[in-house]
């Protein structure tokens, strides 16, 4: 069994207690900063509204992640096979990666049409999440041990055999590290895109966040933030588990 470190749990509880105590002592208005107890109450009260919204956002993030994994690996494979393509297109990929996603968002929304917010959100999330997958997969594919490469040549391995038995296993740990980064980014991408799309059409969690902000329901905003953080953590935990399985 893994031993659970109680130090961070105790520290968290202490901070929550301090937060609760200070907001009560100084009588801070809940609109500015609600105490944890109010946030907990909002979570329970608004749960029926927030949880389905969280489901939508999580679903979009997972879809974007899946597309990013497939697309990133595919492009990496093509780049690894055709170095000329990597040399000529690589710099432009970097430009796209370096451009802030918020700045691209309105354009993508125009192109996909305002009536297709789901598609726009997926495209935007994939744009941010695909790069860590691409770069890590490419690094992994290039990390093939030259000695093993020679052995595969000696035994006249086909390119399929080479891919399945040599390149993929070599790249797997690299790819997994990239996927972990991509998971966080796909969630960020979805949330940012939902903000920019600014419609309730998809009914995601960031829409609820904006809505609560407009109504000055600060406790509900915190509850939504809490759920977002929880989703990020859950994604990370699942990937860490997969990583452990593969490394074992």
């Amino acid at each position: 069994m893994n031993r659970i470190d109680i130090a961070p749990i105790l520290a968290g509880l202490a901070m929550l207690a301090l937060w609760e105590g200070l907001t009560r002592f100084f009588q801070v208005p809940t609109v500015i900063l609600p105490p944890p107890s109010a946030i907990g109450a909002a979570l329970v009260e608004r749960g029926p509204l927030l949880l389905p919204a969280a489901g939508v956002t999580m679903g979009l993030a997972l879809t974007a992640l899946a597309i990013s994994i497939g697309l990133g690996t595919l492009i990496a494979l093509i780049f690894a096979r055709v170095p000329l393509l990597e040399r000529s297109l690589g710099p432009y990929a970097l430009v796209l990666q370096a451009t802030p996603i918020v700045a691209i968002a309105p354009l993508v929304i125009i192109w996909t049409g305002i009536e297709n917010p789901r598609r726009a959100i997926l495209i935007l999330a994939v744009i941010v999440a695909v790069f860590p997958v691409l770069t890590s997969a490419l690094a992994g594919l290039k990390a093939v041990d030259p000695g093993l490469d020679r052995l595969f040549r000696l035994h006249k391995a086909s390119s399929t055999q080479r891919f399945l038995r040599l390149e993929l296993p070599t790249a797997a740990p690299f790819l997994l590290a990239g996927i972990k980064t991509a998971a966080g980014l796909s969630l960020v991408g979805v949330v940012v895109a939902e903000f920019v799309a600014g419609t309730g059409a998809t009914g995601g969690l960031s829409w609820r966040l904006v809505e609560a902000g407009n109504r000055l329901e600060t406790a509900t905003m915190f509850a939504a933030l809490f759920l977002l953080a929880l989703m990020g953590l859950a994604l990370n935990a699942v990937l860490a588990l997969i990583e452990k399985r593969i490394r074992a």
């Binding site: 000695g147 093993l148 052995l151 040549r153 000696l154 035994h155 006249k156 055999q161 038995r165």
Partner: protein, 252 residues
């Protein structure tokens, strides 16, 4: 009169060039079934290049090289300087790799891999991952992998250089055992004179680049045991090899 055993490895006037650099040759060489020929020579003289050419991994610029099958696999067993194991696969899966690449079905290849592991004394380590094995054990796995598809020739490129004296002797004995039991033609590259004499039926001393055969030293057919290491025959062959190598140093 018994006829000579068939030739399994041969080179005829083989030359290798890297760009304008003459790396090797011309070289003539033949290794018969059941014979161990050791290539001895200074660093960079093209020993490894000759081995790679015989394995089909390096094209020759002129002349020819050949590795002949005898019913078994036409791909020779090769052991490189490093074990080159897949660290994500068990010892058994590593050994089974040549069979997997040849399309042998799983049950059969795992059975044959297990047999090869037993041959190198690692029968109980089939489920072990490379990182849990010592350097000598990893080399044994590499040797088992080279033997698993029952090749008719075995090529070894300074395989045991990084291994301690005793472990090395044990590995040398495994090579000699495989040569005898499977009637293998063995071509062994080393820079250790003692290892060369212990293993070889014939030692070929190569010149500095481009490597050519400078001398051939026959080693007497006596049992390879600890007594051989301290015998006059061993000392004589080792001295002969050292004389040729020193003459090169003087000439260079």
């Amino acid at each position: 009169m018994p006829t000579d055993p068939p030739i399994r490895l041969s080179a005829q006037q083989a030359c290798v060039r890297f760009g304008t650099l003459e790396a090797l040759g011309p070289i003539d060489l033949s290794v018969r079934a059941g014979e161990c020929v050791v290539l001895l020579g200074p660093s960079g003289c093209g020993k490894s290049t000759l081995l790679a050419a015989l394995a089909g991994l390096q094209a020759v610029a002129s002349g020819a090289v050949q590795a002949d099958a005898a019913g078994g696999s036409d791909i020779p067993g090769v052991v490189f300087q490093e074990p080159n194991l897949m660290n994500w696969a068990t010892a058994q899966d590593n050994v089974a790799l040549p069979l997997a690449l040849a399309g042998v079905d799983k049950v059969e290849r795992l059975g044959r891999a297990q047999k090869a592991l037993k041959q190198v004394g690692l029968a109980t380590f089939s489920a072990a991952y490379p990182r849990t094995l010592s350097g000598g054990m990893r080399m044994r796995v590499a040797l088992a992998r080279a033997l698993v598809n029952e090749p008719s020739a075995l090529l070894l490129d300074e395989p045991f250089a990084a291994i301690d004296e005793l472990g090395r002797r044990a590995l040398d004995d495994l090579v000699l055992g495989a040569k005898r039991d499977q009637n293998l033609a063995v071509l062994f590259v080393t820079h250790s004179v003692d290892e060369a004499v212990y293993l070889a039926d014939r030692i070929l001393v190569l010149s500095p680049r481009p490597g050519r055969i400078m001398a051939e030293i026959a080693v007497p057919h006596v049992p390879r045991d600890p007594a051989f290491l301290t015998s006059p025959a061993f000392a004589e062959a080792a001295a002969a090899a050292r004389r040729v190598l020193s003459a090169q140093l003087v000439a260079a």
